[in-house]
Amino acid sequence: MAQVIRPYGDSWGDGQVQLSFTLPLPAGPRAREAAKRLAAQMGLDNVQIVHSKDLQGFTFFILYGSCRHGVDVSALSHVDEEERSMSFEEINAFIEEQIGRRIVVVGACTGTDAHTVGLDAIMNMKGYQGEYGLERYPMFETYNLGSQVPNEALLQKAVEVHADAVLVSQVVTQKDIHIKNLTELVELAEAEGLRHRLIMVVGGPRIDRALAAELGFDAGFGPGTTARDVAAFLAREVARRLERGE
């Protein structure tokens, strides 16, 4: 049964949303009218321009309005909630029991990206937010290649150390450089016949599961991820593949 929800401002179904954008028009009644029309096209009723600022040739707007659109919650049931998390000890025990050997991972910030903090947070001893990194897990063998690593070099290293998984970090996203770069990595892995042998994981502030899947990765991790989340996923995924006899 359809169960449609709408944004909530201060009462059920009021549809209130806040919006801001800049239009390439000089400030004035025409720019205001354009802003209102745009908001109307976005499905907002009762549009209120609460602020506009002349940026010389451009106008910045802040608006509120009531969004006509709704989302049917019953249609979201296919979206998985997160898997139960496991503790450091549970994960190591799980790997020992179910897999019986260390999981090998190779990580890198690829392309021209030099933002290593996120990957280090997942891979290095020290970890992040009080959670140790993968390096600290007795049942993981880790190689952190650092920053600005070409896709070729990453795959080469993965082959060299018989990696179960590659962990890619992408932080710079301007003009969708990360999409380009990640797509290239998957294509390269496929071309080299490595794709099915590797669990491919991507992380970064603009990454989530949906995007990762779309780009052909096995998992994607966004802001706030800790090594434990990644370790649990890898442990389960390697076990699943063993079970399936891959």
Partner: protein
């Protein structure tokens, strides 16, 4: 403990208090001459009358209006009601219901004075027991759960629908709010009755009704236990029903009340005599109920210039203090109001804000000061507005304010959305933690801008109070000295509801309050002594 960051001239402060006391005593003499329909309805309520007649008119109104129309209110409703109780052998509620059906209580025969007195004492005792129980319950809960650390974070809910308000209040508490105020609909303050039952319609706020009070207090009790922090509830004890709302709040365990001696006169054009009488009785009830009042001087700066008229705020704080002490409130109950309202474009505006806030802090060291956020100079630029609120948060923690109303980034747009409140709470939490001890870290230069501004405000306050004392408070209000608003003593709403007390006037509730307030010990969060501390 208040940090003495400034030097404040104690002689000037003492002089200001003396003047304010004199101003308050002048008014007090007039207050004692009259009663009002609202005061009498309050007696009816505390005697147990509630509900409405067939046309939806609240029974306290039905019965008081009847006595008033009979020209008999000068004796006090209590007398007529108790007389009817004795005469008819009914409860006060049954008497009121009978009135709604056509009974004329002033037409009943006069009964035995001793039995009448007995009924009045019984009814009064029952009311006081309920209030005392609620007060004790609050004290227990506060002691058990604590109340958060100052500045206490105070947010409003104002959806117009009490059921939405409840959700939003709980969400706010879970995200760090210490105090929840339910803002009243724009229409209510000029109603000469209190609506009945739960309500789901309102503009710019939600009706204050006893049922709404109860619903919200229950929801907050629930969340208080969940959070291990006693969440305080506020409503508005002002307008044409001040003392009735005080009674409702006392019965339903509200913790604070917006309750100012002059707000109604200035901002709602309510008649002076009416407001002065109503505020006094309402404050006696608040005093006994252990409720903290919040005064409304911050409002002055929404109509008058915040720099030029800063001293009128401080002067009014002195007057509100003296009127409150005369009503039996203790210093720990005086949430005197002031505000961060300077034009954000002003060079060194922040320094002047700090001067004002710190000066008031030092002058009223025992009062749980209520500090109001920027409102007038907030615009639709929610991003800049959020930063103005940050500076307000900083001024508050720096000067050690007590009750801190969170500014909303959408102040100029709408009554707060659910998420606005959460963003504001995060803003306040960040600033107040990040600069937690700043006030203990610094000293102000003795010849600096802040010190000089403080001296100027204090000097102007004394001069202003001299002027008010000379004209009398009513004269000063007539002359537009507060908030740039002029009100004449003969004008204003609700004037008809002011009745000169007869020599035979009785008000057992007021008498009992007077006894209790004079005798009980004070002590933080609780009891009374005679010193006002």
């Amino acid at each position: 403990m208040v940090n003495e960051l400034l030097k404040v001239d104690h002689h000037k402060v003492a002089r200001a208090r003396e003047l304010a006391k004199q101003i308050a005593l002048d008014i007090q003499r007039e207050i004692e001459q009259v009663t009002t329909v609202a005061i009498e309805r309050t007696v009816a309520r505390l005697f147990g009358i509630d509900g409405t007649d067939g046309a939806g008119v609240p029974l306290p109104n039905v019965i008081v209006d009847q006595v008033d129309q009979a020209g008999q209110l000068h004796r006090g409703l209590a007398f007529w009601l108790a007389n009817a109780v004795v005469a008819l052998g009914k409860t006060p509620q049954e008497v009121a219901e009978a009135c709604a059906q056509g009974l004329s209580i002033c037409a009943l025969e006069a009964q035995d004075p001793i039995r009448i007195e007995q009924v009045m004492q019984d009814c009064t005792r029952r009311a006081f027991q309920t209030i005392a129980r609620q007060r004790q319950r609050r004290e227990e809960l506060k002691a058990e759960l604590g109340t958060g650390s100052e500045p206490l974070k105070y947010v409003i809910v104002a959806s117009g629908n009490i059921f939405e308000d409840v959700k939003q209040a709980q969400a706010a508490a879970r995200h760090g709010a210490d105090i929840i105020a339910v803002i009243r609909t724009t229409a209510q303050s000029l109603l000469d009755y209190v609506p009945y039952g739960t309500t789901t319609e309102g503009f710019g706020g939600t009706y204050a009704t006893q049922a709404n009070f109860r619903l919200m207090r229950e929801a907050l009790d629930e969340v208080s236990v969940e959070l291990g922090r006693y969440i305080q509830l506020v409503n508005y004890c002002s307008g044409l029903c001040m003392p009735e709302i005080a009674a409702m709040g006392a019965l339903e365990r509200l913790d604070m009340m917006l309750n100012d001696a002059m707000y109604g006169i200035l901002f709602r054009d309510i008649n002076m005599d009416r407001t002065f009488a109503d505020q006094h009785f309402s404050r006696m009830i608040n005093a006994y109920a252990g409720i903290i009042i919040n005064t409304g001087e911050d409002n002055y700066l929404t109509t008058a210039d915040a720099y030029e008229k800063a001293h009128t705020v401080l002067a009014s704080n002195f007057i509100n203090e003296q009127l409150a002490l005369q009503a039996g409130l203790r210093r720990w109950q005086l949430g005197l109001g002031h505000a961060f309202e300077l034009d954000p474009k002003m060079t060194n505006g922040f320094l002047y804000e700090v001067a004002m806030a710190q000066t008031i802090r030092q002058i009223f060291p025992d009062a749980p000061l209520k500090y109001m956020p920027p409102t007038k100079h907030m615009t639709g630029d929610i991003f800049l507005g959020h930063v103005q609120n940050a500076m307000f948060n900083l001024a508050s923690v720096l000067t050690g304010q007590s009750i801190h109303l969170l500014g909303m980034l959408t102040e100029a747009i709408h009554t707060p959305h659910l998420s606005d409140r959460i963003l504001s709470l995060e803003n306040a939490r960040y600033i107040m933690e990040n600069a937690r001890d700043l006030g203990r870290e610094i000293a102000f230069r003795p010849d600096g801008i802040i010190q000089k501004r403080s001296e100027e405000i204090v000097r102007e306050t004394v001069e202003f109070l001299e002027q008010v004392a000379a004209m009398g408070l009513k004269g000063a209000i007539s002359a537009g000295l507060f908030a740039d608003i002029k009100r004449s003593p003969a004008g204003g709403k609700g004037r008809d509801g002011v009745v000169k007390k007869g020599l035979d006037y009785v008000n057992p509730i007021m008498d009992a309050l007077q006894r209790e307030l004079a005798s009980a010990p004070a002590g933080k969060g609780g009891s009374f002594d005679g010193t006002g501390n």
